[in-house]
């Protein structure tokens, strides 16, 4: 018996190969989520558009309560169109239902809609605690996704969102709150979206062959 061979004739190298194979396949499965990196990018741009609208057009007729709802609705429509195009490109339609992660973000969308609508109706939407809760909500969705996918990168992003949410409580001015939000959109949405898209592009075509 070789030194690396264990009971039943299974070698240590063979077992390590199995571990490597499992890691590789779990990473392949993760691709179905990283493929949605464009959604993070899109929502980062949508949020920045709403913030810019409020900042640069403060006296326009459409400003105030209309800027965010308009951008959010536009973002939702663009997401639906993008998903439809993505599914059409994949020949068999919905190939993979990465339901758990998708459902986390869908439920976040519902929670945020309720939260934002309620806050806007009651004119509470620019309180620090409101902004902090928004950032913490998004961080929570990232954290749950990271736990499901066992993806440290997304876990770090969740931490960044929570850090921002916590920092808002200590902000002394609206300008500081805006700066924190801007940083979160850039890092936690746009940069993360681009990172996910790069991962997707890199792992394309990286397929092994496995025999029974």
């Amino acid at each position: 018996m070789a030194s690396s061979e264990m009971d039943g004739g299974v070698s240590r190298e063979d077992l390590l190969q199995r571990v490597e194979l499992m890691e590789q396949m779990i990473a392949e499965g993760r691709r179905s989520t990283t493929r949605c990196g464009w959604i993070f990018l899109l929502w980062g741009v949508v949020d920045l558009a709403a913030m810019s609208w409020l900042h640069f057009l403060p006296h326009s007729h459409w400003v105030g309560v209309r800027a965010w709802p308009t951008c959010l609705i536009a973002g939702a429509i663009l997401t639906c169109i993008g998903l439809a195009v993505q599914r059409r490109r994949e020949r068999l339609g919905l190939r993979v239902s990465c339901c758990r992660v998708g459902m986390v973000w869908f439920m976040l969308g519902i929670a945020l809609t309720i939260f934002i609508s309620g806050a806007m109706v009651n004119h509470l939407s620019w309180q620090s605690s409101y902004i902090a809760a928004l950032l913490i909500f998004v961080g929570l969705a990232h954290a749950i996704s990271a736990a499901i996918l066992q993806w440290r990168g997304q876990g770090v992003v969740a931490g960044i969102w929570w850090l921002g949410g916590g920092a808002v409580f200590f902000a002394r001015s609206q300008g500081t709150v805006n700066a924190i939000m801007f940083a979160e959109m850039c890092v936690g949405m746009i940069l993360f979206g681009v990172y996910a898209m790069v991962l997707d592009a890199r792992s394309g075509g990286n397929r092994g062959r496995n025999d029974g």
Binding site: V19, L21, M22, S32, G93, R95, I148, G212
Partner: protein, 99 residues
């Protein structure tokens, strides 16, 4: 008396079957074509291995239509998840500190 080493589930230990279960572990369900592409397998080989996994109850199969095209969709069962979890635990014991 020496401690007995755990046995590896022979159904899961097959490379292609292990690859498929690992893919399915992060998904609710996946179709046959997607699994074939990800594993780099052939129709015949993957079909045979999926049948074996289905027979032992590790995966459940459903046939449906996506538009006009027939689609075979697989999902991992609770029994399959438990078996994979036991397999990983056995691997950890066998490999000691390597994991």
């Amino acid at each position: 008396m020496a401690e007995e080493l755990p046995e590896l589930d022979p159904v899961i230990h097959g490379k292609l079957r292990l690859a498929v279960l690992s893919l399915l572990t992060g998904m609710e369900q996946a179709d046959f074509t997607w699994l074939r592409e990800k594993t780099g397998s052939t129709d015949g080989n993957l079909g045979a291995q999926m049948l074996k996994l289905e027979e032992v109850g590790y995966v459940a199969m459903e046939k449906r239509f996506a538009g006009r095209k027939p689609q075979t969709v697989y999902r991992m069962t609770e029994k399959g998840r438990e078996a994979l979890s036991n397999y990983v635990a056995a691997l950890k014991v066998l490999l000691g500190g390597a994991l």
